[in-house]
Amino acid sequence: MLQTDLSLEKLLFNLNTLAELGEEITSPKDFTRVVKSALYMVMGSFSATKGVIFQFDSDRGVFAPIASKGLGDVGAAHVKLSKETASALTKHNKPIDLKKGEHPVETLGEAAGVLEKLEARMIACLVVKDELLGFIAINGKFSGEDFSVYDCQLLSVMAQHISFSLHSHMLLMRLMHKYNENKGLYENLRRIYYDTIHAFAASIDAKDSYTRGHSHRVSAYSAVLSREMGWSHEEVEGIRIAGLLHDIGKIAVDKTIINKASPLTSYECRELNSHPVVGYEILSKIKFPWKGIPMMTRNHHEKVDGSGYPDRLKKTDIPIGARIMALVDAFDAMTTDRPYRPRLSFREAMDEVKANFGKQFDPDVVQPFLTVIRKEVRREVDNPTIVPLLQEQLDSVSLNRMLEGFPVA
């Protein structure tokens, strides 16, 4: 082959390598794989048998190998550079022939020993925006030839390509770090938020010894029922929170009224019945990430026939969340002991729901509620919510009998 042909072939080979390198570093492949391929391309271009790419590890303050070939295990071969050396290398920003010992080789100090052990002949710094991100080190050519000016230029261009890849990866890693940090903070805030709401719910229930756990049950029942009705995850979360806080207005009601066993006077009745409005006034000042919580609280004692309180709304005027809570709130009140009466059996509670179907309770809510109970009794769901909290055993046959005669919605 003529020398001129060889030069042309060499140029084409190197151009092809640069094109492939560009493609490689912009590919969505795993970063480790990209760096490895990039190192192989550098080594293939200069027929080097040994090579390594170091990246600055800011946690440890050293340059650590991220890809190597022909050197066995180089995991422990860390290079420490002083600020002055790093600055000199960054400023020089050209491939350095260690054999020639030209500036800035004399600044390498202890690092020179590590590079010698790796049989490094050429190093090319990986610099972006005056920051030394790492460097490539390769040994001499397999052919034994010297590195020409052209080789140095080619190595310099390849190093620039790899620098950008390293820089992008570092930015991505920093972003990921920040994202994970923020995610952790958000999770903490979320936990605090939920803990606070749970504490509120506990303090509401604490006013009434009979209603311990009532808010939690209303919350859980509302969630499972709304999910059965096809609500989204976010909407279910909203009603779960509304369930926990629906009786928050009772904080303003005298404890003796809440716990009174005998019939209430009209004043006491007014006081107790004010809790949905008081609750609404408290909650409407809070900016919840979920919609409708204050209104669900305000209207959870409305009845679909318009005889409820405080706004005497009729069916479709009552927010759907409030209609759900009206049913599960009454259901829990019926199936737990109260100061003025012992708890009703499930059958008795269902008879009450049946008697008030379409009057107090919305048929569109009662039907899915019955579906949830049926599914739980038949063990068609992994985590039953309502049935385990009832203080009696239910089986499929007796449940069918109990639910007989429910009007079709």
Binding site: F13, E20, S37, Y40, G44, S47, G144
Partner: protein
């Protein structure tokens, strides 16, 4: 005894490995693994036949240099055969042709007597 498979042919202590049409990272690594397994099994002569190979990129060159080093470390011998012009040029550019025996055909490579000096076609 000659055992012939799609990618390789075993002839006594020699093996001819047929490389794929493009030697890049994936094909190069396959080739590397195959050579390493033959060295482990005691084969001392490895011939890589490039008759079907249209192109070797820089990653392929790097892997081939690694293979040559490994064979030499194992005191084995390695030669190439069936090189197309373009691949011969690439091996020449990176200086491989001065350091490895290259034959026109795999038969020539297998039948060649061990030579100390490196000869190119």
């Amino acid at each position: 005894m000659v055992k012939k498979y799609r990618n390789f042919k075993e002839i006594g202590d020699a093996v001819v490995i047929y490389s794929d049409n493009y030697i890049n990272d994936i094909e190069g690594e396959k080739l590397e693994d195959l050579c390493a397994s033959y060295l482990d099994r005691g084969f001392t002569r490895i011939v890589i036949d490039f008759s079907e190979t249209d192109l070797v990129n820089s990653i392929g060159v790097s892997i081939l240099i690694g293979i040559i080093e490994k064979v030499r470390d194992s005191k084995g011998r390695i030669s190439f055969s069936g090189l197309k012009r373009v691949n011969h040029d690439i091996f020449s550019i990176v200086g491989l042709t001065k350091h490895i025996q290259i034959f026109d055909t795999e038969e020539d490579a297998v039948n060649a007597r061990a030579r100390q000096g490196m000869v190119t076609t």
